[in-house]
Symmetry: C2
């Protein structure tokens, strides 16, 4: 019978037999991207959008709802119209801000001398965040709780490929609003050493959280600006509007020397023009306006240029993610970020209601465009479902598998005369096989990626074992991972100080969000 692709696969399977080896060690704590970013626009087109965005800031400007922020913009040279709450920013102010914004953000990691870098070709990955709901295939969907938040934090700690806590992962809706920031901060600073996130929900909450970060790092509060340990995320109220908590967040974090992620969330056809160049131009203007504010507060304050431009379904108005337009916008936003020399954040999003095939193909469109578009911070990296309204435990695991595959893809291919195996090729000869060749035996234990979820057994073995789908296997994996969770090394005196702080602030009534 002739050679065939299926036939060769079967032959390989038969000849191999059962060769066991230890699972490949996963070392994804630091990831660099060796690929040049994919581009959708010419340099001229990028320049055109950048110039247009500068024009938008000069002629239309941003509406800034916070009087303190408007004062700050005015002091930096903006023309402020107090009746319309708008600030107009000239290009000189933008250029000045871009000159002082760092090209690279270096995070201090608790309990480690190592740094987590964002910028250049360094890539960090954050979990999903901001979901009001949590779901699991064997328990359905419900409101998030503090216990869920803690479980998700433990899951984040369990995978090297996750480096940053997403914004709030899931809302701990069973904790009263004035105490919630204290509880989720405590979880982030004890259950994981991943970079913690702080919501910009007003000065009192931010002060509490930054105090806790300083305690966890054993730093005096006034030493914090010299150590970037945490971050907040800012979304503009597109189009061209910055609300009070967001403006305050930019100012507080810049003052504290902590990182601010500036992300206009622009849905083309809704909060931004329906075209990709139009939506990106508006988002670029909004992001630049945010950097002007942060650099006015503290030149050198760390920030990241965020992209979250997608489209709405023009039939229903529903937001869509992981679409071809989303991918193109991500590539284009990366080009704009690099034009202004800033670290770039992109997003692993999808609009599926279940952790199914749609969730995965939309996530993959997002992941490839983000990671091959040169992002330095992949946001909502693990768990996102339902346009961000739900974090799915199974999707979390499926995302970790996909992220690990990218981390492997980013490893360089070893290349040498020895790697070519020409001697073994001669020894094995035509029609032979390489299973027991010396070249194979030297390498087989860690030659290939060892998957987390994928099941490569044949159909018979797989069906005898219950015909479980990848999503069902992910359900088993998150439970096992939680059961085997190992805490990061914690300084016990700092843990005690954190507990004391939380107790005191609770007794004082906590702090409500604004």
């Amino acid at each position: 019978m002739a050679a065939s692709e299926g036939g060769t696969a079967r032959r390989a399977r038969r000849q191999r037999g059962a060769l066991t080896h230890p699972p490949r060690s996963a070392a994804y704590r630091r990831i660099s991207n060796p690929f040049p970013p994919i581009r959708v626009f010419s340099d001229d087109q990028v320049e055109h959008m950048h110039e247009a965005a500068l024009g938008v800031l000069e002629t239309i400007g941003m509406r800034v709802l916070s009087p303190e922020a408007r004062a700050c913009y005015r002091k930096a040279g903006a023309k402020v119209d107090e009746s319309r709450l708008t600030v107009r920013i000239d290009r000189g102010m933008v250029e000045k801000a871009l000159q002082t914004t760092p090209r690279m953000v270096d995070f201090v990691i608790r309990g480690s001398t190592d740094r987590l870098r964002m910028g250049g070709n360094h890539v960090a990955v954050a979990t999903t965040g901001g979901a009001p709901h949590i779901s699991r295939i064997d328990g359905g969907k419900r409101n998030g709780t503090l216990a869920d938040f803690r479980d998700l934090t433990k899951l984040a700690q369990s995978f090297d490929v996750l480096h940053v806590m997403g914004p709030g992962i899931v809302e701990a809706q069973d904790v009263e609003l004035q105490f919630r920031h204290l509880e989720i901060m405590h979880a982030q600073l004890t259950l994981t050493d991943r970079v913690p996130f702080i919501y910009s929900r007003g000065p009192d909450q931010i002060r509490d959280c930054l105090e806790m970060v300083a305690l966890a790092h054993g730093l005096a509060h006034d030493a914090l600006p010299q150590h970037c340990c945490c971050y907040t995320a800012i979304n503009t109220n597109s189009p061209l509007q910055l609300d009070i908590p967001m403006a305050h967040g930019i100012m507080s974090f810049a003052e504290a020397g902590q990182m601010v992620l500036m992300t206009p969330f622009t849905l083309a056809g809704a909060m931004a023009p329906i075209t990709i160049p139009g939506a990106l131009t508006q988002a670029h203007a909004e992001a630049l306006a945010c950097f002007v504010l942060s650099q006015a507060v503290r030149p050198g304050a760390p920030g990241i240029y965020g992209c979250f431009t997608s489209n709405v379904d023009m039939r229903s108005g529903s937001p869509a993610f992981g679409t071809p337009e989303f991918a193109k916008a991500t590539f284009g936003a990366g080009q704009l970020a690099r034009r202004v020399g800033l670290p770039f954040r992109a997003t692993n999003a999808n609009a599926s209601n279940a952790p199914d095939a749609q969730a995965v193909y939309e996530a993959q469109m997002s992941l490839w465009s983000a990671l091959m578009g040169g992002c330095n911070l992949l946001y909502h990296g693990a768990g996102w479902l339902e346009g961000g309204l739900t974090i799915s435990l199974e999707k979390f695991i499926l995302d970790v598998e996909m992220l690990q595959m990218f981390a492997e893809l980013f490893q360089p291919v070893p290349f040498s005369e020895d790697e070519l195996a020409l001697e073994d090729m001669a020894t094995v000869g035509p029609g032979g096989h390489y299973f027991s060749a010396p070249h194979t035996m030297e390498r087989y234990s860690n030659a290939f990626y060892s998957p987390l979820v994928s099941d490569w057994r044949n159909y018979g073995q797989w069906s005898e074992d219950g015909s479980r789908s990848a999503t069902e296997r992910a359900n088993t994996i998150w439970k096992k991972t939680l059961a085997e969770y190992v805490s990061p090394p914690n300084d016990l005196s700092r843990v005690a100080a954190l507990a004391d702080f939380v107790a005191r602030r609770k007794s004082e009534g906590g702090a409500l969000p604004i």
Copy 2:
């Protein structure tokens, strides 16, 4: 409340309401790839592998089981060792073959003056093929039949994004072997105008099939070499071996001026060295040897350089697909194909046993590496499951959705002053929305990709409608597509001639495969 990514999405949804519009017309009949191919190797490394492959052909050579093929190689200048059945090929012969192999293959399409091009930045997509089994989620897995073959051919005809029939799609196991080629050829030449595939299963079957192709195109048999209308696929018996039917296929198709897809199927660690550079070097040598044979038969015979290099799971010996190593090998093979100036085939494969999340994320790794690796023919584009042993009807539809998304991604982004929407940005102003802006109204009906499977409704609407997964929706879609199938325009006299031919050859006893 502060702006948030979830909040903005909800706001967009609320404000939009129900705006209906006709689905975007899908025009994916011809696809060009605007992106430069992704590379994993330096030019020096590519040159090193190419030189090493030339050395392999000179010193080890290929074992060629067919005496006619060995004679042909000898006549072209190879050193033939009849006792070991090996042919050693010097680099001059390879260079000569590469000089005469066309850089571009132009297929004649039945009933059309348009051509389907493979080469340059043109991309064509073939369905999956070669599967003994077929599966559906509401009927399980079973052996393929002629009725299945006909249904899958109708599905291929129904989507513009599929251009080529995969190799046999599914085995029509209910048809006796001596008649099978006649029946599947008849289906391909009447139910679709996609480029038909012919198995290389011996001279008698090939002669029948080429005769039918000539009849379907209204060509005299001796006019066929001037019109590339169909193709065969050749897999070497790696390592470094070419069996009798495959060698005969190359020679017959070269003689008839029809396209030959030359694909060494090399699983690193099994039929090829365990390293990517080693596996690619061996595959490159095998492919080059095949081109030497085709060009020795007929200089200028069309061919495509195929890559199907993946790895085995070193624990079980099972083949794995859509892995990080698979992606790297695909990028690298594309570099080697371009080094020798040949059109490049890559593969949409996965190793999942079900049309689930694993099937999709492995397929996406395959698709991105194939399409962004610069392939000109995407093989096994739709339907592949279980390492190619099964064609899944639901996976077929999921693949079509993913392929359409790529076809959209490959469309250029319109860019002009007008596209930037600066006037509307001023009119809408800070805090407004673009739903009813003139810029939106002019474009909303076809601004974005309109999905086949994705469900973007909110969770409430989706769950009220049965909480159906993407795979379940795909099940509905293939049934609906089959029910609405429209035949391509067929010349009735040619259809009659085909039927007569099949009846006559059946009465003569058909032709057995070799």
